[in-house]
Point group: D2
Chain length 351, copies 4
């Protein structure tokens, strides 16, 4: 089987392995207070062009989301997101387990707009019995979204402006951030994110690290005492240097971005073949996730040699699926997938 | 101002006041272990025709909902309800504050169907990564619903059957239960509720008590150690007899049901006038809550003498509002409202 | 049986009943937005001589404690109290259920000192791994304490000063506040409490109300959005006026304090008899709770006609028990208890 | 500086690194559903001689403790432990953050006895108002304890028997389990743990893994749906195979136990030197943690070249500290420490 199921089926980029081997017997302080975490944090501040940023490293995405959100909100406050938001649908209620309601907004492409947030907040504030409803206090977005789409600078600026003018926090989940920043149609930079968001994270797990997410706070109050939050929520790795080491390796010489760009380009190749074969994208996109609608017959045949993930049923004979490329996807495997797509499509058409 | 805003604008039925005065200086054990609570619980078991029921008294509805739901669910389990469900929209995230996600289903009339629950549960169970999503474990319905509609016996049986066959609990919020059971088109009885639900409650606050909700468990495992849950969630009244006394008074000689029926009849009078005046019901109903769509001009005039509550804007010139009758609504006030509706409608039409 | 078990065995002072009857059919807005709550809050501000205080009414003590504490703390912060503190031992973990650790300090008399708090906070702050332990952020004291003792002004000033100088909040549980303020050796006033605490409450349930606690915030940030907290934690009474009415009645013409003083005086009579009979107080006190060590034989005989509560076993033949007087304790019942104490003690001595 | 501060200052045993390198580009399913996790789980079942055990892998100790405890308890139930228990003092209230009270028992050596648990449970059950206090439902012990001591088989059997007879769960935190099982005076086996505990874990982080704890359930009900719990609490590693790989490597050919034995032997060497120099152990022990009371002057000098951790102040001139050996401690560093201890002690004596 060849995996296009997700972007975390392999281990990590070899430069990380090398660093692990080289540093293995060094003795360092624990819990993220080591020189490697310090170096990686500094590297991030430089990339974001903001020396005041507070940077922390956690192990995984769900852990990061719940810890950041719980750190930001008071008990009666909720977090606004798209109905497709990872925190709403794929984290087993981790945010609610910290006591906070997720306020989901309708979304066709995984994104939400400043206008939607405005409408929600205004409805809340206009209510005769405001305190009977959860107070919207934070906006959570993913970039790229769970559907592989990306925010434009203009869209992010609109969200940021609304949030700042109205006392809400803006939090960007960057589990796949590199794929977004390297998308052909992207116009956002790390500097923009640090400027426009109150907190965001740079994902490692899905971008070539063994694990790890780098949380970046530009809003000082949110970062206050964040290490207590990490510890309380089980995210403080004893050998915290493993996180620092990885991000230091990934962010050195642009490796992180180079790997993401290559994955996007491979996804573009697959998108091109799918287009030629006449399969409509379920959601248009330019990152490493491809959502496409295909006939069951073709997918069933394809599933004999390739993995991909089920998104939803479209009609009696078609379903939408996701193909992912990653830093580890070989050109050989892309070619095999493209060949198989052509071959099976031809066969099935003949039938 | 004459209040049609809600059904809890006054104190309580005079028979309750009399009992409070008569018993005031009696000494009883606290926390619901007194003879009045015992008598009221027994009265409920008799009305439900089930001597095995476990009955507990709490102070208010939000408190009851969060305590019952938290008692039933393990950490990763959620409660399914209509998107209009009280727990979803009007309890400031009280259920989430106990750690549990509310899984909201679309609903036009405030009700959900067995089929909707089935689809949700099957989708969960069919998922490739089931444990990444909240496990649906309890179904929460209100009867009457927040939109004043009621479940038929057939609908409730379908929900109950699906839940029992699939390991879910069925919880019925009866904050306005009497109005539902006394609706002209109702075919459910207390006995049915005890038979079909795992837990439900008989509302007092909105039905003539000063406060209080009587929780009835037919599922023994849910009732286990429930007093710990009440205490932990702040619902254990030191002078618990106040709750027992009130339910004992309400449920004696059918007072509770008689008051509800009278309120429904008054609502019917108002509905009849609204119908004659050509105002369409926003949601059809037969209980004490009337949801109707009316022109802003009429409502603005009406608001000078009467209170009612805002439901939503329908179009640029119309909005939906709610009028409530209650055990305390006088015929005189109903007549005044009906006269005013006729008068204002006529004036506005003339314009 | 004659109850000396607690101070909430009866209903309420008759002036409250009268107000309930008089106002029963008035229509008011719900949820504490009515004129009675406004009047009672104003009365409290006047008594505290501070027009800036924010006053809210809740139903019971556990509910009040968990709601106030949850409002004040961030997720990783804890509340410091005596190991006998009500929140630590008698609230079924309600504070922990909101996610916060209770940090208990040793105490023989139910009180804690500024010095103890200082030592705890300094140990925390000096820790090599501060963020691995709960951050002490609020101090919870009861006055009178659970053992019937009271804080002097000097002691409270020391606690207040330490807390303010070190960024902690001071919260005083006044479930029996009147008994404390009316104790013969008390030198605190309501004005002092408003000045020295960040938040405190004036208890109603144990002081002649049917139920109800009046929370008083002098720290504005703690009061922010407190109504959301009340609603979320199930403490927002639909007919909130019942709370306002009661406090308005209790605080009019000094009734609240007069009732407390009379209860203290009756407790003094009992203490005097116990002293003459040679029974040592388990904890010395001057309020309505009497903790005394007595022989099992005497207590077993006494228990045939009187209720009292078990505190702890002292040795093989003695145990400590609590007798409570209240606003409702009649002189007749005090005399009966004193007579019985004398009689049984004499008989048992003869044996 | 030479680290004796803790047992997690280095990376991991080289056999783990080799496995990481060898398997890096393999594609596996995520979230612990891969063959490596399956193999490691099977290895544990074999070592415990119980094919029915349910095994799960988490990243760290705090995460494991809070997830296991939250899985086991209903909302009003608490977990009993020694006052030195890791969950009570060093996890920033992570257990309380899941809503559960930690019920701490006094302990001089880090252990608790069946008798202590019995007394606590009986006091709870005998209470007049049982439901006003947290229900003790789980017993948490560490082996070795936080003070380096170990339970005998007889002690563990007594705890187990009491728990089973009285409906409590027994949970053993084995963050340093290997050091305990390899202690010279140990008489427990993995098989015993599986037989006597309802759930325990085999620690990796402090025993030569990069990270990871292997949770072993022998009580089937506790294991039910545990993967939901892991995900909800942020402990589900996307590349879960990293955990399986490590435990598979550690548990192959007895490496895990061999490393622990060697660390204990090195600790014995240090203990012997300390004994000869006349420094009393703060707590006697036979595992890799040495708690010793020493003069400030000696410690201050030692601290110039060696790290160790502060336990507590003993008197004006002495404090208790901890030295840790680990799988990675070299004989050379042990010799250096012993030499320095002898040298500094001699110098200071001369003064």
């Amino acid at each position: 089987m060849i995996y296009f199921h997700n972007d975390y089926a392999e281990g990590c980029h070899e430069s990380i392995l090398q660093r692990l081997v080289q540093t293995n017997l060094e003795q360092t302080p624990g819990y993220g207070t080591d020189p490697y975490c310090a170096a990686a944090a500094e590297r991030i501040r430089v990339l974001c062009e903001d020396p005041s940023l507070s940077v922390h490293f956690l192990v995984g995405g769900t852990q990061t989301n719940m810890t950041v959100i719980a750190a930001a909100l008071r008990a009666y406050q909720g977090v606004v997101c798209a109905q497709t938001g990872h925190i709403h649908v794929h984290e087993t209620g981790a945010v609610e387990a910290t006591g906070h309601k997720v306020l989901a907004l309708p979304s066709a492409d995984g994104k939400i707009t400043a206008e939607q947030v405005r409408a929600l907040v205004e409805e809340h504030r206009a209510s005769e019995a405001m305190e009977h409803t959860v107070q919207p206090k934070m906006v959570y977005i993913s970039n790229p979204t769970e559907l592989g789409t990306i925010y434009s600078r203009k869209e992010l600026e609109a969200l940021s402006e609304y949030c700042r003018d109205n006392g809400l926090y803006l939090f960007l989940d960057g589990a796949r951030l590199g794929y977004g920043l390297e998308a052909a149609d992207n116009d956002l930079t790390l500097k923009d994110l640090a400027r426009l968001c109150d907190v965001f994270y740079i994902g490692g797990t899905k971008q070539g690290a063994l694990f790890g997410e780098a949380v970046v706070f530009s809003h000082p109050a949110l970062a206050e005492d964040f290490r207590y939050m990490i510890k309380q929520h089980g995210g403080m790795l004893a050998k915290g240097r493993l996180l620092g080491l990885q991000f230091d390796a990934l962010l050195r010489d642009g490796l992180y971005f180079r790997m993401a760009r290559q994955a996007n380009e491979k996804a573009d190749q697959i998108r091109a073949v799918l287009g030629k074969l006449g399969y409509p994208l379920y959601v248009p996109g330019s990152t490493n996730q491809i959502f496409v609608t295909m006939p069951d017959a073709v997918l069933d045949e394809l599933a004999k040699s390739f993995t991909f993930s089920h998104e939803c049923r479209v009609d009696d004979r078609h379903r939408a699926v996701r193909f992912c490329t990653s830093w580890a996807t070989s050109q050989e495997n892309v070619d095999r997938l493209c060949d198989a797509l052509r071959q099976i499509s031809k066969e099935k058409k003949d039938l």
